[in-house]
Symmetry: D2
Subunit: 384 residues, 4 copies
């Protein structure tokens, strides 16, 4: 079996989830390649060295450019902060490497467009880590929608609620807190959380045509960890929008980091003529499904424990009733990426799909400023 | 339409639920009789007078015997403490009155046997207020079982958990606390709570053949409200048993007033070859139903909101989604009793059914003492 | 005790819930008046006669004007379709009657303004039947908010999801279906469902300043039951909006009759700096409450079974663990109305409060047409 | 850092979970040893070779005795069927190897006693894979109990419900089905499922003194996969018992493979004077906790999402809100075992703890036969 040599950029939270996926996938899936954790790149030598040792990377670099220059790297995986995605991805594509990139693809659609152009002109397999598509319960919803089980769709609603930034004492910027620094992150919850909701929605329900949005920054100033000064907060703490999909359905989306009591509550619901489905991240292995075609007297929401072999991805894991964790959304995506890459193909969500989400988040942020309905720029999703 | 004149004995918690049923039933059901709240009897004149005024009873008595002597009373409803059931019921039957009696029928099966003999020899319509049979969700389970939807039954489990007697400071005996006084109540949770679980189980799953039980009194002494003295506690605070049903299924039952966090958690579950059902009193309008014949991928427990017109009793109430309260279990039973009485029939659970439950509670209490498996005396349930 | 003579207009679903409240309140509450079901008015004599007999009204009229002319009526209760509210309420007020009116107060704020003017110039006690304020769990949220337990509010979200109009075969108009006829109802889900969400929100979270909305009619034509012809559907099938409250919080509201699987799912959630609360109508006796001040390790959403005597209204009912039904929201409001009326006061939600909700629904419907953010006309809520 | 060379026996379901733990622990925990997957032993050479390759074992053996003879193995991990535990464990202990053994320790307490004697006389660190102790939510209950948060314990209840053997067509014996073959498994659900419930209970609530039990085999004959013949089924399909703990609390336990609708529903609940806790395996990252000391009005079961850094084991994983899977109960136990082993100590549940559980399961099976209350042989739990 051929090896596939991986070069990872970044060693934060996402660096860990990706590395774990690289190690776990071969134990549970028949892969067309043997993945090799060849090298990891990050600026702080002490820390990258420790990270490499912990996860079993054969080597490390302190400059990602060196990683791209190396001939022994087949795929570049970008797990560094948002402001680095574009430059690294384009360089990797130009060097003929496959590219896996954390979400959001670009801080703006303009950034993302150049990234799409780069991977498509280089013809390299690519994917964006919108990992929630590969929660087994979510993949199951996709199956049900594609089979027509829901019928005409009337409504879609999704939210992503957190509560970790409510304290005024929390600083912004730097290690672990770059998500609060607009220069690095590009936006607040719109790019960090709503982007996940949007990617799944585009996949399940097709293109969004227009949006009207409302954004807010509740805490206006925070100390910046790098400058040491109290500075204006540039990110959106909360972001919500109404929209219409091309298929005629109506939708509501909301993300916030000020919803006390919710740690990482991504919920989605889709209502069709015949059936509806609901999922939430706090119970990720469960699917709620309602089928109006059930006999009326005993019709109800079915609470489905997605742990059986005939449910998506689950034949690779344990036995019925035993749930898997969050981290395996990445394991699944990596296994699927290798399958696609072996055929020279990209894996949805591709860079082009990531761009489609950026078009929506751009429209949301714009509408928050203009207080108008805004059209979403065209970005037909990749056909799987 | 003929009137049906009601004479109620007792004005406690059950006096209120029954009176409410007498008033509500005619508004929501087409009844064969017009119920008239003719008289209520209780010893304390001030209080019975107030009660009569509040609920619209035309008159009151301070001795239940006078109630039975009155020619203008058609049905005697017994809502007084357990130690009074036998004498009143027998007197009422002998006087040719219909009899409705609170549960448990007797403090012992021996008491209940004399009561059954009295109503049967008098030929008067009778019923015991095991009200939970007429929770719409529970009635629905009965329908599903009778239709064979569950197939061969393997397991039944029920419990009734409360936590209101944990404090050592709580006295026993007297107004509102007679349930803690063994002389009045007959037993503790076995007759008060387990009896409910057992009645439903006999109805849904047929006769119980033998039991092995464990009972306990956690707080050994309490002040008695009537004597004013600290006295030994004679009731069982907790009672649990294993048993076998005639149909070959196995079961577990438990009741306690020492399960911190549970107010009145009656739960039941029945597992059949093809399907299972679960219900709990804290969400009485919901039925959990699992049907193995559903397609495997989307098989799960259906959370059914029993509020639709095609679900038991619900066409009489509001619109889908709007739940009814606990008190209407009595309303339903009263409406059904009038239907039966109009045909000269008793309404299950009849006195004979109440006796069947007393046979089981007797066996449970005996097994708690003998530490042996005990056979349940025969008492074929009334055929509805 | 003085009597209070009630004259009801309308005998539909709401006529039943109100009548039931009139009968039930005196059994469970100490009231300052003895309510008397004096008369009911509706056009169809056979049906109004039957209705009167069923609920115990002493008399009936076939013209509501006669009801208002009668000297023996103290309070007019309007439970007829929306297009009749204004005329009846104004006539009742002019005749010096107290007025209780079903929601929405007017089909438009313009209608409602004239109604407010009438009751206020007549000085008659009034209330609007936004009954959900008096779900015990909802009243409890109000207590917690007023006590400052939640702290600064960041988010509010509410929805009302139904699925009963999805079929294209369902006609519009006439008996039981006037809610689908825009001429009678004024609007679709905006006035019927969202109005409930809005009234509760204004009560719990203060005034809404501006909204941006999206409305839709999924089924464009339906047979009209009165004309017999297929006609354009004028109501909104779905309506959603984003808004800002005066207190700086952000909110999302949605109502639809096309959410497959939901019968009458009114849900609300409010997120504060310190605590959050959630409630839904399908489990109306439960309150979900999260308090960040709980010890971190064991912090979680508390699932509170609102059935204890120290919880709003519950000391009037049964014992802990035993839930009450939907209908008692009306019982509570009626009992509270009598308390207020005995002091010559109106009961919130008053007509003025009902107008405040109409200002919001007007703004929502307008924004749906203009596709702009719309300001909400000022209508300070009644101080309780 | 020293290495710890592991020799695994068995490559079934448990062979996979253990191997995964060996690979995962060093990525997420600071371990005192570097674990090395040195060798795996099993009889079928093709399959053991494939297994070794998949999980990265350096070598394989087709006879477990060779594994024990190897000098380069520090710890023997027994993941083979129950009938092999005793011989392997004793041989390993005699060879001076540390021993980790799958549960149940022995098929009977008599077997287990010889195993305890062997490891204790050899003085080798040992543990039994009762993995559910290290579900973070379960470990949290242990913390709360040990801190006295629950107060005096009144009740304990646990069950383990499955439904995978209901079909009469399912054969017994051989690969993947040895759990149905009494000669190999020792018993049915008593040793397979109840043993888990019992181990956790002994840990949380102390010794059990006596039991009364009921066991059943619903399907009396099944085809045997090895002999090819239809043979009597020797295992218990269902097993339930009542018991008393040394601390005075009462308990109920039940396990079955005939509870339609439940895949692997291990639930436990413990009720104390002040607080109660509930957990179930189908939502393993959630803890239900009720604290009576909360303010009465807002007292309820707290639904705690055990994913925060201050909750057991969770600082090693992801971020709040992101759940981990079943497999990490093994990862935790392995990490803890290495900590203990580094100090020359055994890790609870030790072999002695495993024996304590075998004493209870023996008493349960005996009581099922004798239909008497049976005392549980003394086996004081290891002090951690």
């Amino acid at each position: 079996m051929n090896t596939l040599n991986i070069g990872l950029v970044g060693y934060g939270f996402m660096g860990r989830t990706h590395s774990n996926a690289f190690l776990q996938a071969p134990r549970f899936f028949d892969l067309p390649f043997k993945p090799v954790l060849k090298a990891v790149a990050a600026r702080n030598e002490d820390r990258v060295k420790t990270f490499a040792a912990n996860w079993g990377y054969e080597s490390y670099e302190t400059d990602w450019r060196k990683l791209i220059d190396r001939k022994d790297i087949d795929v570049i995986d970008i797990a560094s902060p948002n402001d680095t995605h574009r430059e690294i991805a384009i360089a990797a594509a130009r060097a003929g490497k496959m590219v896996m990139c954390e979400k959001p693809l670009g801080r703006t659609a303009a950034e993302a467009e150049t990234m799409v152009a780069a991977v498509e002109s280089a013809g390299v397999p690519n994917t964006v880590w919108y990992n929630y598509r590969r929660v087994p319960a979510v993949t199951m919803i996709k199956q049900l929608v594609d089979e027509g089980k829901l019928g005409r769709i009337f409504h879609y609603r999704a939210k992503f609620l957190q509560d970790w930034t409510i304290s005024k004492e929390l600083p912004q910027g730097g290690e672990g807190l770059w998500r609060l620094d607009v220069a690095v992150a590009g936006s607040g919850v719109t790019g960090d959380l709503l982007a996940h909701n949007i990617d799944t929605a585009l996949w399940l329900n097709g293109p969004i045509t227009e949006v009207t949005a409302m954004t807010e920054t509740f805490i206006k100033e925070r100390k910046h960890n790098i400058t040491g000064k109290v500075q204006a907060v540039g990110i959106d703490d909360a972001s919500a929008f109404l929209c219409r999909f091309e298929n005629g359905s109506l939708a509501m989306f909301e993300a916030t980091r000020y919803a006390r009591g919710h740690k990482a509550l991504y919920t989605l619901e889709i209502n069709g003529e015949h059936a509806s489905a609901f999922w939430d991240l706090h119970d990720l292995h469960r699917l709620q499904y309602f089928d109006h075609r059930d006999e009326g007297r005993v019709r109800g929401w079915r609470n489905i424990h997605i742990t059986d072999a005939d449910q998506p991805y689950m034949k690779h894991w344990w036995v019925p009733g035993l749930q898997i964790g969050y981290e395996h959304t990445f394991t699944h995506q990596f296994a699927d990426f290798l399958e696609a890459a072996a055929k020279g193909k990209s894996l949805p969500p591709t860079f082009r799909d990531g761009l489609a989400t950026d078009y929506v988040t751009d429209a949301v942020l714009k509408s928050g400023r203009t207080r108008q309905w805004e059209k979403v720029a065209g970005a037909p999703a990749t056909v799987a």
